[in-house]
């Protein structure tokens, strides 16, 4: 693992225009995030639906224009590149989309699907039949699957085909959007094990987007927690799970339902009202739901850093007891 980052995202913003004429404005789907991914590293983006995870991934892959900031991949600025310029970069940076079956064309066989990247980017004298066999065996599917169609695959098998497509061109970075969403627990483990194994064998770097914290814990080296399009906390996964410093991270971790009916939960409960991106709260944007919020939190934006909070938590901190108007 070399020290220079393979991907560097600096202060990236994605604005979506809203309204018309005089009422024209913009909402920020991604509101200024920065992070780096090193070679061979797995980086996780966690947050609830609507927090901007997928938008950020699409921005990195050039599928979504950014309104501010810089994206550097393998030492080269890639934000603002046109389609033609982006094409060779997509060979090095591949994307696994959500919805395992929906992202596969129902009219193509598995063999065609896994070699489609070659047809788009040029096969350079590769024997496609051999490649199909190689890719299928890499992702643990029998060679005779090449003649199957997507509807004949289970969710886990369809995911494997998605993985095979993503690694076909030997990318340096794979962005996986919810790689385990909708999969059963037993199959989830299979797909994550596969990604881990490929990462080790092929030296891939990965960005995994998920709202499932358990997944993050087992695969990611570093994790960023997103809230309303910003990172509220970023750091080493292990350390974050052991001692979350941002109240939102702490609440997410404490919420995890566990398969034990007698487990006594010591939860940090948050009010369920997620603010709208159209009306971002003042100061610290989490203050409307934060059990620790103080006066300053509504007034001032927290200082920049790995934890976007005026009062980062001490390990094991519990919310102060307050009179609530229930």
């Amino acid at each position: 693992m070399s020290a220079d980052p393979i991907l560097s995202v600096r202060d990236v913003e994605v604005a979506f225009p809203v309204g018309r004429m005089m009422a024209r404005g913009a909402i920020l789907g991604v509101a200024g995030v920065s992070f780096e991914v090193k070679r061979g590293e797995t980086f996780a983006l966690v947050g609830e639906s609507g927090s901007g995870k997928t938008t950020l991934a699409r921005a990195i892959n050039g599928l979504q224009e950014i309104s501010r900031g810089e994206i550097t991949f393998e030492g080269r600025r890639i934000d603002g590149l046109g389609r033609g310029q982006m094409k060779p970069i997509r060979k090095r940076m591949s994307m696994m989309f959500q919805d395992p079956v929906g992202s596969l064309s129902p009219r193509m066989t598995v063999g065609d699907l896994v070699t489609e990247p070659y047809r788009i980017h040029g096969a350079e004298g590769k024997d496609l039949r051999e490649e199909t066999a190689r890719l299928l065996s890499l992702v643990g599917l029998p060679a005779n699957f090449a003649s199957r169609y997507p509807h004949q695959l289970s969710g886990g098998q369809a995911r494997r085909v998605g993985v095979a497509r993503a690694i076909a061109l030997d990318p340096a970075l794979v962005i996986a959007d919810e790689p385990t969403a909708g999969l059963d627990v037993s199959v989830q483990g299979e797909v994550l094990n596969l990604l881990n194994e490929l990462r080790e064998r092929l030296g891939l770097a990965m960005v995994i987007i998920t709202h499932n914290l358990h997944v993050v814990h087992h695969v990611a080296d570093r994790t960023a927690v997103m809230y309303l399009g910003r990172f509220v906390e970023i750091g080493e996964t292990e350390a974050m799970f052991a001692a979350p410093r941002h109240p939102y991270t702490a609440a997410l971790l404490s919420a995890n339902p566990e398969p034990d009916p007698d487990k006594v939960h010591d939860r940090i409960t948050l009010p369920a009202e997620v603010p709208s991106l159209l009306a971002r709260p003042s100061g610290c944007e989490f203050h409307t739901r934060c059990p620790w919020a103080q006066e300053i939190c509504a007034r001032e934006v927290p200082p920049a850093g790995d934890v976007a909070c005026h009062f980062p938590l001490a390990p094991g901190a519990r919310p102060p007891v307050r009179e609530t108007a229930e």
């Binding site: 947050g47 609830e48 639906s49 609507g50 289970s154 969710g155 909708g182 999969l183 059963d184 627990v185 037993s186 199959v187 989830q188 483990g189 299979e190 994550l192 094990n193 881990n196 709202h211 499932n212 914290l213 358990h214 997944v215 814990h217 087992h218 695969v219 996964t237 292990e238 799970f241 609440a251 997410l252 919420a255 995890n256 339902p257 566990e258 398969p259 034990d260 009916p261 007698d262 487990k263 939960h265 939860r267 409960t269 948050l270 369920a272 009202e273 997620v274 709208s276």
Partner: protein, 326 residues
Amino acid sequence: MTTLSVTGLNVWFSTEEGPLHALKDVSFDVPERRIVGIVGESGCGKSTLINAILGLLADNGEIRGGEILFEGAHDLTTLGPREMRDLRGPRISTVFQDPMGALNPVLSVGQQMINIQYRSGQSKAEKAARAVEMLKLVRIPDADSALERYPHQFSGGMKQRIAIAMALMMEPALLIADEPTTALDATLEVTTIELLQDLQAQIGCSVMFISHHLGVIAELCDDVVVMYAGEVVERGSVRDVFHDPRHPYTRRLLECDPARQTERTRVLPTIPGEIPDLRHRPEGCVFAPRCLERHAGCEAPQAELRVADGHSARCNLALAAAGVEA
């Protein structure tokens, strides 16, 4: 009284490749005022089961044998479309995984909530008042003005709560909730579970809760039914089944849940193998091909063995496995 009692239910689908036995001898009860979880991997027949109960099986599906007794009076397998229509909605209602799909995007929430009370015979003002009352019950802030807003103006968690309010508005005897928290983040998931629990107690209905998330089942449900390949392999109280699982499949499923892995690991447990082709069911135990404890006795059809009051498993080792820790 038992709200729903399913006995020996068999559902077949005719497919191009021959008849498919989707549900085999499915039996379980949803007692009055209880929350019963149905857990199993995709393809285990959860959706078929819901559709069979609701009388919404696809045209190529057929109930061949068995009975679905609702409130001790109606056998749902023999009711005509008209009688089923009278039950669906007021007596049996549903909440699905995707709240956006359940709400009409071009009608205001209030309009939709008033429309669905068309059977109540009340005035529009009374219906609107009832709608506000329900929205307050599911803790939608500012319920009066919420009536005028449209689904897209609410967050995912709020939309799901609105869908729950609509499902419970007619005070049904049975609520069928199909993966209602899968799309939500961990904090919202917990809030939604707690809300369902509260509402169920207030309205006094029974709930059939379908999920593949074991943690949610453990937290929410009184009883659990474990399904595999269209069969009920184990059922009992949540405490009995989760603390003393007697079917090898239940044990493996619990092991696979990443929430059980508190230590960080790069290799997650899985259940190798695939669900058998339901057109060619194995003669004996349906889980045997993937079972680590398989022996000669598994080649014969398995009877459901009673482990304790209300706890049974379809495995010939169910009674021998006492003391085996999951």
